[in-house]
C-alpha cells in the first residue's frame, strides 16, 4: 500500500515562446486523488508530463514522500529517473499508443513493466500479469493478442494494469476516458474509481470533464492558460466556484452533472 504525499511548488515550463505552465503548486495527501481541471491549452498535460518525467520543467519542485523518505522528482536524473517510471510514478496517457507498445501483446506490455522492476520467473510473471488483467476486466483469452487489435476502452484497461503492476506511489491519469464511447468510458471510470479506493494509491486526475473529476477526486485545482485560478474541495468547486472562469466551466458542465 502506497504511503505517499506529493507537494509541487513553482512548477513552470515554456516550450519556446509558448507557455506550458507557470508557477503551478498543489499538494496531494497520501491516498488522495487530486483533480486538475482545465480545458485544452490550460497546461494540465504539461504538469503531468513534468511529473511523469517526459519533459523537464524550467523551474519548480515536486517533493514525493514515501514513508520516511522524501525526494524531489525533478532533481532525479538518468537511470534513476527511468527507475522511477518503472515502480514509483506511473502515467496513463489519454492516447494509449503513448503508453503501450501496440505491436506486442497486451500481456507482454504488462510483463515488460514487471521485468523492468526485476521480475525474472516466467511462471510468476505470467501469473501476476493474469491477475492484473483480470482485475481490469481484460479477458484472459486475449492476453496474448497484439495490443493493436484492442479497442480504445480495452487499451485503457491494459494501460491501467501496466500502471499499477509495481504498486507505484503515484498514479497520473491524463484524460483517462476522453474519446471513449459513453458506455465504455463509464466502465473505465468505474474501474479507476474502484482501483483508487482499494489500493489507497495517491493519484492526480487531469480532465476537462467535471463528471470524471466529481467521481474520482476529493480536491481539485483549476488551470487556465497555464496558471492556477482556483483550488478547493471538489464538491465546493462544483457547488460554489469563486473565480469567474471556474464559474463558466461549472455552468457549462451543469447539464451533465
Amino acid at each position: 500500500m502506497a504511503d505517499c504525499a506529493l507537494q509541487v511548488t513553482g512548477l513552470s515550463k515554456r516550450f519556446g515562446r509558448v507557455l506550458g505552465c507557470a508557477d503551478v503548486g498543489f499538494e496531494a495527501a497520501a491516498g488522495e486523488a487530486l483533480g486538475i481541471i482545465g480545458e485544452s491549452g490550460s497546461g494540465k498535460t504539461t504538469v503531468l508530463r513534468c511529473l511523469a518525467g517526459d519533459v523537464a520543467p524550467d523551474a519548480g519542485r515536486a517533493l514525493l514522500r514515501r514513508g520516511t523518505e522524501a525526494f524531489d522528482l525533478f532533481t532525479v536524473d538518468g537511470p534513476e529517473r527511468r527507475a522511477l517510471r518503472v515502480a514509483t510514478v506511473s502515467i496513463v496517457y489519454q492516447n494509449p499508443a503513448d503508453g503501450l507498445n501496440l505491436r506486442i501483446s497486451a500481456g507482454g506490455n504488462v510483463a515488460e513493466r514487471l521485468i523492468a522492476a526485476g521480475w525474472r520467473n516466467f511462471g510468476k510473471i505470467r501469473a501476476r500479469v493474469s491477475e492484473l488483467l483480470a482485475r481490469v476486466d481484460v479477458p484472459l483469452d486475449r492476453m496474448d493478442d497484439p495490443a493493436g487489435a484492442f479497442s480504445g476502452g480495452m487499451l485503457q484497461r491494459v494501460q491501467l494494469a501496466k500502471a499499477v503492476a509495481n504498486n507505484p506511489a503515484l498514479l497520473l491519469l491524463d484524460e483517462p476516458t476522453t474519446g471513449l464511447d459513453a458506455a465504455i468510458a463509464a466502465g473505465v471510470l468505474d474501474l479507476i474509481r474502484d482501483l483508487l479506493e482499494e489500493s489507497g494509491i495517491t493519484a492526480l486526475v487531469v480532465s476537462h470533464d467535471m463528471t470524471v473529476i466529481s467521481m474520482l477526486t476529493s480536491r481539485a485545482v483549476v488551470l487556465r492558460a497555464g496558471r492556477m485560478v482556483e483550488a478547493g474541495l471538489t464538491d465546493q468547486l462544483m457547488e460554489d466556484p469563486q473565480d469567474a472562469y471556474s464559474q463558466q466551466l461549472v455552468a457549462a458542465a451543469r447539464g451533465a452533472l
Binding site: 480536491r219 478547493g232 464538491d235 465546493q236 457547488e239 460554489d240 464559474q247 455552468a251
Partner: protein, 247 residues
Amino acid sequence: MTAEPVLAIRGLRKQFVIHAIGRQVPALRGVDLTVGAGEHVALMGPSGAGKSTLLKCVWRSCLPSAGEIWLRRRDGGLVDLAAADDPAVIEIRRHDIAYVSQFLRPDCRRSVLEVVGRAAIRRGLEPAGAAATAAAALRRVRLEEELWATQPAVLSGGEQQRVNLAAGTLCPPRLLLLDEPVAALDSGHRETVFELIAGLRETGVAVLSVFHDAEAVRALADRVVIVRDGRVAAEGPPDGTLDRAAA
C-alpha cells in the same frame, strides 16, 4: 447535556458572487446559532431564506464569506470550519459530520449495498464488517432487501432518499446535518425516519436540520429557528415559536 455546544455559528455571512451577471447575491446576512450534543435544532422559513446554504456552509460545500463556524470535535478539539483548510475539512467530514441532503446523488453504477458499504469504509470501518453495517443501516430505514442489489438511479425518489439516510447515519456522527430528509417519503417511512433521527439524538448526536413540515419539527426538534431573508427571525421551542411565526 454538556454545557459546551457541538456547533457554534457566529456572524455567518454568505454572498454568492456571480461573475457572469456582475452581481452579488446575499444568502446569509449574519447568523448566530448553536447546537448542543443530543439537541435537535430545526431550521424553517420561506424558500430562498438561506436554510440549505447554512447547512452547506457547515459542510463546506459552500465557502462562507465571513463569520465563524466552531465545531467541537469528538476528541474535544475545537475547529473553525469557516477557516479550516481543505484537508482538515476532509478529515472532519470523515469522522465528525454527516450530511444527508435531498440533492446528494448516490454513486451511480454501484448497487445500493455497495454505496452504503463504501460509506461505511470511508467512515473508517473495516471492509470485512462494512457489508453487515450497511445491511443493518438499510434495515433501519426499512429498504426492502430485494432492492439492495439494484442501482440507486432505478429507485424511486423516496427509496433514494432512504439510501442517502442509511449512508449518512450508519455510524453516529458528532453532528448530523439533514436537509429535508423526509420530503419524498410516505407517512409509514416518515415515521421510521423520525424514529431513526430521534434515536440518534438520544445517543448524543447534535442534529441541525431543515424541514418545511411543521409536524416533523414538532415531533423531532428541541428548538426551531425561523430563517427569513438570510437572518434568524425567531428562535425557541417548537410550540410557541411556530405559532408566532404563522401569525
